[in-house]
């Protein structure tokens, strides 16, 4: 069912780092670093959510795109991380302990869910994981002493080894508000997770996951321990989701069960589908697009004045969002990563006259 555009690992092709090639990435880094100081407070908030979404999308893509296990339960693992973080924060745990718990517990749950995944395929698995979302919301309500139940629970700002994300104070001569701090924390987490997944995909374990995804029996006959890698994918992905949830919850400041509804899972699936299965870059692009798009669309809708009456603009924004989603998937099934790859190919071809890799 899953269709992954194509092999993305390309190392060993002996690419030379030419200055022209570094220009783009360097510009991007500068832009990312400068962004919080030039953006309005609202767009900075959107950017923080985008960066957090990127981590979440990456971790889901590891499971779905690389390991081929469709999960609609991502919101659950994000939620576990967030609630563990809230609990730890309220009980004065230190940062390393909180991180350990917020990553470890979801990972452990992922490991426990894994065996179910071993038996089920595709949509059966997907819908079973959907059950996790409901179970999660039930747990929150049933154990309201710990979770705050339906009325929710506050979270605390993270104190990353002395760098308190919650304060707003100058650092390095720059106005580091809470938003700016969370922005950088989220960027760092996304970069870390993205780097880890990229590394995974170009090394033995990642390759094994992809082999299991494409052809399970052939992979096992070639020596891949299928069980092990399926469990590993679930565990690692869940752990990463936990870390994402920790940051997400802490930034939100307050957790309510609705924060981790099915809708969130679906939003994340939309990110990786639109971004591109099995693609690090795609996950990030998809996360940014899906998070920022509704905001952009509300702006568009608001500025078309005839809509501005009777709150119709909001409905139109939602309709536009749905339409955009449908149209995008119809016309670009390989996702943003596909577009990117094509664009990049065009650029490189012009730059270095490389012929397109011919098959025969």
């Amino acid at each position: 069912m899953l269709d992954v555009p194509e092999a993305r690992t390309r190392a060993g092709a002996g690419q030379h780092l030419r200055p022209a090639r570094l220009l783009g990435p360097a510009l991007l880094v500068v832009l990312l670093l400068a962004f919080p100081f030039i953006a309005s407070s609202f767009w900075l908030t959107v950017a923080v959510f985008c960066a957090i979404a990127a981590s979440g999308a990456l971790s889901l893509n590891l499971l779905v795109g690389y390991a081929g296990q469709v999960s609609v339960g991502h919101a659950f693992f994000l939620g576990v991380g967030a609630y563990v973080g809230a609990y730890g924060g309220q009980h004065g745990w230190s940062f390393p302990v909180i991180v350990l718990a917020a990553v470890g517990l979801p990972a452990l749950v992922g490991l426990l869910v894994g065996p179910v995944a071993l038996r089920l395929r595709e949509l059966y698995l997907a819908i079973t994981t959907l059950g996790l979302v409901y179970v999660g919301q039930w747990i929150v309500v049933a154990f309201d002493g710990v979770t705050g139940g339906v009325s929710g629970t506050p979270t605390t700002d993270l104190d990353v080894f002395g760098f308190d994300l919650g304060t707003s104070a100058y650092a390095l001569g720059l106005p580091m508000t809470r938003d700016v701090r969370y922005y950088f924390a989220a960027l760092a987490l996304a970069a870390l997770i993205g780097f880890a997944i990229y590394n995974l995909s170009r090394s033995r374990p990642g390759r094994a996951m992809m082999a299991v995804r494409d052809r399970q029996v052939a992979a096992s006959v070639a020596g891949v321990d299928v069980t092990r890698y399926k469990l590993a994918a679930f565990t690692v992905s869940s752990g990463m989701a936990g870390a994402t949830g920790l940051l997400y919850g802490s930034y939100l400041g307050y957790l309510v069960p609705e924060s981790f509804s099915l809708e969130l899972s679906i939003t994340y699936l939309a990110m990786i589908i639109i971004g591109g299965f099995g693609s690090v870059l795609g996950s990030v692009l998809g996360a940014v697009l899906i998070t920022a798009l509704p905001q952009v669309l509300s702006y568009l809708a608001e500025y078309s004045t005839f809509l501005a009456t009777d709150n119709r603009a909001d409905h139109v924004a939602v309709l536009l969002y749905g339409t955009a989603l449908v149209l995008f998937l119809l016309f670009e099934p390989e996702g943003l990563a596909g577009i990117w790859r094509r664009a990049a190919r065009r650029v490189t071809r012009r730059g270095s006259e490389q012929p397109e890799g011919s098959t025969r």
């Binding site: 194509e6 995974l200 090394s203 033995r204 992809m210 052939a218 020596g223 690692v236 890799g357 025969r360």
Partner: protein, 261 residues
């Protein structure tokens, strides 16, 4: 190719396999000596692929034992059997469609590598080093199978014949001591099957690998095999040198018809 594999004796006795009332294998037993090139023939549905599936751990036999050297394979999981040096090439192409040719072949090196999930994520120390080393190594197999030019191509869009070669490269990369081949020349034209026969022969002779090959192309079988086992309705009806087997009236009746090479 660098190290000489130590092929062991494959010994099958009393093997049985059932599917919902169907006896796919019934009391099958034969031995493949180390370094032997053994053909396995028989009518469609006789149980040849099923036998290979038992050998590689994909099916669990209901009776009998399979031993490779001193190790009993019954009940072992496929990846453990692979770890003993048994590689398999499938009847239908079973490649990892979305990966490049190189990645497919690198997967054959899976057992020779050590990097775990965490190390892989960190890309630190062994992970990177190992990956680099194995890429070198794999290049060798890619060249051996004539795939070096298309190493970065996604296998999905390759034509049938090339895909088969990728499968061989992947199996070879496992540096096996025993290779199980299921219909290697099906769907190939005459000149291609001659090439394939050369490849199999050289694997056998240069590398000393034991080979069990299932094939319906009798020209191929006759030109290669040292011994031939014949299955019919899950039972072993002959097991001998090629010349004897093709003259066996039972074999002719069940399988060959008037075609004797």
């Amino acid at each position: 190719m660098s190290e000489t594999p130590n092929a062991r004796r494959l010994h099958i006795t009393g093997l049985g396999l059932q599917f919902a009332g169907l006896r796919a294998l019934d009391d099958v037993g034969f031995t493949v000596e180390p370094g032997e090139l053994r053909a396995l023939i028989g009518p469609n549905g006789a149980g040849k692929s099923s036998l290979l599936n038992c050998l590689s751990g994909v099916y669990r036999p209901s009776a009998g034992t399979i031993s490779y050297g001193d190790t009993v394979l019954n009940g072992m999981q496929p990846h453990r059997i692979a770890g003993l040096g048994i590689a398999r090439v499938f009847q239908n192409v079973e490649l990892f469609d979305k990966l490049s040719v190189r990645q497919n072949v690198l997967l054959g090196r899976h057992l020779a590598m050590r990097t775990g999930v965490l190390a892989g994520m960190a890309w630190y120390g062994r992970a990177a080093r190992e990956e680099r080393e194995q890429r070198e190594k794999v290049l060798h197999y890619l060249e051996y199978c004539g795939l070096a030019d298309i190493a970065e191509t996604t296998v999905e869009n390759l034509s049938y014949g090339v895909k088969k070669r990728v499968e061989y490269a992947r199996a070879l990369a496992m540096e096996p001591t025993l290779m199980l081949l299921d219909e290697p020349v099906a769907g190939m034209n005459e000149s291609e099957s001659v090439e394939m026969a050369d490849l199999v022969r050289s694997m056998h002779q240069d590398l000393g690998i034991s080979i069990v090959v299932v094939e319906h192309d009798m020209r191929f079988v006759m030109s290669l095999a040292e011994r031939v086992a014949v299955l019919d309705f899950g039972r072993l009806i002959a097991d001998d040198v090629p010349q004897t087997v093709i003259n066996d009236p039972a074999v002719r009746r069940a399988y060959l018809g008037e075609h004797a090479a």
